[in-house]
Symmetry: C2
């Protein structure tokens, strides 16, 4: 069952398409994958053999169907098993000594789906951590980084608002308001330009809020919840794998016992021939065959579970990879928006000085004197000598 | 005595030169002025007649020396005095009804020296205010305006310092410091750019201080003290003028009495001829002549005082006018410096965004994934089916 509700069906197609390209040499597999990509994901496993999709894909790429032919052959000896595969934390890998060559699923992309198959020793030393867990932590950290960037921008906004507030307040200050004439006009424009600057910085802070801070903060509101679901789903599949591995071990032990029983009874038959013993051998052989069938069934179920886990691992890690690309692109885009706004702010700021410069060029002390003298003169009749 | 220590001698020459140009038609006056401009200002008044410089200059410009010829003629009748001149607050002006045409000293310049000869009714209604006082108040107000502009710039500096401090502090913030790869580098540059911005604004504030605020504040440290001296000097000259006007009035009254006494005694002589009376008339005539001489001397002293006041008025108002031009130019220049610094700040600010843009262009999610996967991968061996 798909627990990742945020994986739309169309996405599945997108995720699965790379397999088609990778599986160029194995056309039968390619066709099967292609067909399935149009079906509900739920039908991928279950009734069908694990051959079509799952751990064998990469092998299929090499055009060798060796392992696909193996499952049917009845050679369940522990020795052979040990030689060709090795099971670590209930996951079965090819044995290092007899490992067939594996080609990466996405050889040139350093894709998440290729590098996190093993578990990792916990840094604290106790227990292990699934490779998927590391990817999840990367996602959560990325989300946290994005949130912190948004918080950083929020702090910048506060600084801009404070700056704008102070500039606007100073602009209203009455200092030297009584300066007269053209100089008075230029001075008034100096003050007004501060209000203009304040306006520019306020606009900057407002745009920072709507175009940078908010998008960074709002992006994937349910991200953490989705990641948790994702985590649980993969963990559940690992638990199922562990449980089925235990069944395999139990069935293998039972088969060994049955085989030992059959062997013992066959030896007894050789020593003292009796009807009862022949009946016992028949019964023991039937039970041994049944135990063998049980083991085969358990291995089959185990392989189905591992295949399902593998499938979910590929699908989900590719989705995480896509989300990370999206996150980086999204942050990049909004930081570009930040520099764009900074750029515009500097440009608009420039323009607030222009009218001041214009009025400063018009400052004329002679003209100012004329205006002032006209208003304040007391009399232009000069005194003359007193006559006697 | 010159109380304006800050009037250098060379300045006197500069101030007086315009008279030479104005006095184009009156070459004798021109020569006299020219000569005097090379002498100590203190020798301008005193021994010489007030004819050479002073209230007559403008009349001299018209080429009529009428008033210069008058002082000698003995016609001290009040009636004639009233007809040709009028004395207001101890300053003697040509009578409106018989006023000779006066040309402005600096006709095209709206010069202070041409428009502040009369006193002005105090706005509060009680008393009058000298024209010079209005000019002084203009100067003091100008000085105050300049001081307030400096204070305004100081406030702007504080805002810039606060802004820079906040940007620098935010730049040190550890938010999203764990972002990795090329995106991490771009993010680190976003933070660094805030430190660069802070630096730009700090530089702006520092330059505002040294190149705008300080020069505006320091300009003419003793300006107010100098203006006070200037004020006292002109006021003293007005007091002397008032005192000499009182002397004139007293002498005029004494002359009137002596003339009445002489007239009475002459009438007595016509009625009863006696030696004693003839002796009395002689005495009375002598006293009357002496009173006339006294009056002439007082009028002469009054005219000298008025001439000195006139001279100081012209000199000092021209200096105030020069100072005002200097003030306006000086403020204009420093406000231009302000806009220049604002301009540079915007330019430098632009450049702080450039390295961020460069690194944002280099952000590459695939490269970042490669780096991260190389460091954190757990294993690229894919699981395979378990064999029985």
């Amino acid at each position: 069952m798909r627990s990742l509700e945020w994986f739309p069906l169309s996405l599945w197609k997108r995720i699965r398409l790379p397999y088609c390209h990778l599986a160029g040499k194995a056309t039968c597999l390619l066709r099967a994958t292609d067909t399935m990509s149009t079906q509900s994901p739920m039908r991928l496993h279950g009734s069908g053999p694990t051959v079509l999709l799952g751990p064998h894909q990469a092998l299929a790429l090499r055009g060798t169907f060796s392992l696909q032919q193996n499952p049917g052959s009845p050679s369940p000896g522990k020795k052979q098993n040990k030689e060709s595969t090795i099971t670590i934390n209930c996951v079965t890998f090819p044995h290092p000594d007899t490992m067939p060559e594996q080609q990466l699923l996405k050889p040139t992309e350093w894709s998440y789906c290729d590098y996190f198959w093993a578990d990792k020793k916990d840094p604290q030393g106790n227990g292990t951590m699934a490779g998927f867990e590391i990817l999840l932590q990367k996602q959560l950290k990325g989300k946290q980084m994005q949130k912190e960037m948004s918080e950083f921008i929020r702090e910048r906004i506060k600084i801009e608002e404070e700056y704008a507030k102070n500039l606007a307040k100073l602009s209203q200050n009455s200092l030297a308001a009584q300066e007269e004439g053209s100089l008075g006009e230029a001075w008034a424009q100096v003050k007004k330009s501060l209000a203009d600057e304040a306006e520019v910085h306020l606009k900057f802070s407002s745009k920072l809020h709507s175009e940078v801070e908010k998008p960074l903060m709002n992006f994937r509101e349910n991200f953490k919840k989705d990641m948790k679901k994702c985590d649980h789903h993969i963990a559940d599949l690992r638990k199922q794998l562990a449980s089925r591995y235990a069944s395999v071990e139990k069935a293998r032990k039972a088969l060994t016992e049955r085989q030992r029983d059959l062997e013992m009874k066959t030896q007894q038959l050789e020593i003292k021939l009796s009807n009862k013993t022949e009946e016992d051998i028949k019964k023991a052989r039937r039970k041994s065959t049944q135990a063998g069938d049980d083991l085969m069934r358990c291995v089959d179920l185990y392989n189905q579970a591992q295949s399902k886990w593998f499938e979910e691992m590929v699908t989900t890690t590719l989705e995480l990879e896509r989300l990370e690309v999206e996150r980086v692109e999204m942050i990049r885009q909004h930081l570009c928006q930040y520099t764009q706004l900074r750029h515009e702010t500097d440009m608009f700021n420039q323009s607030t000085v222009e009218p001041v410069d214009q009025l400063l060029r018009k400052v004329d002390p002679a003209k100012d004197r004329e205006l002032w003298v006209k208003e304040h003169k007391t009399g232009d009749i000069r005194p003359v000598d007193m006559e006697i």
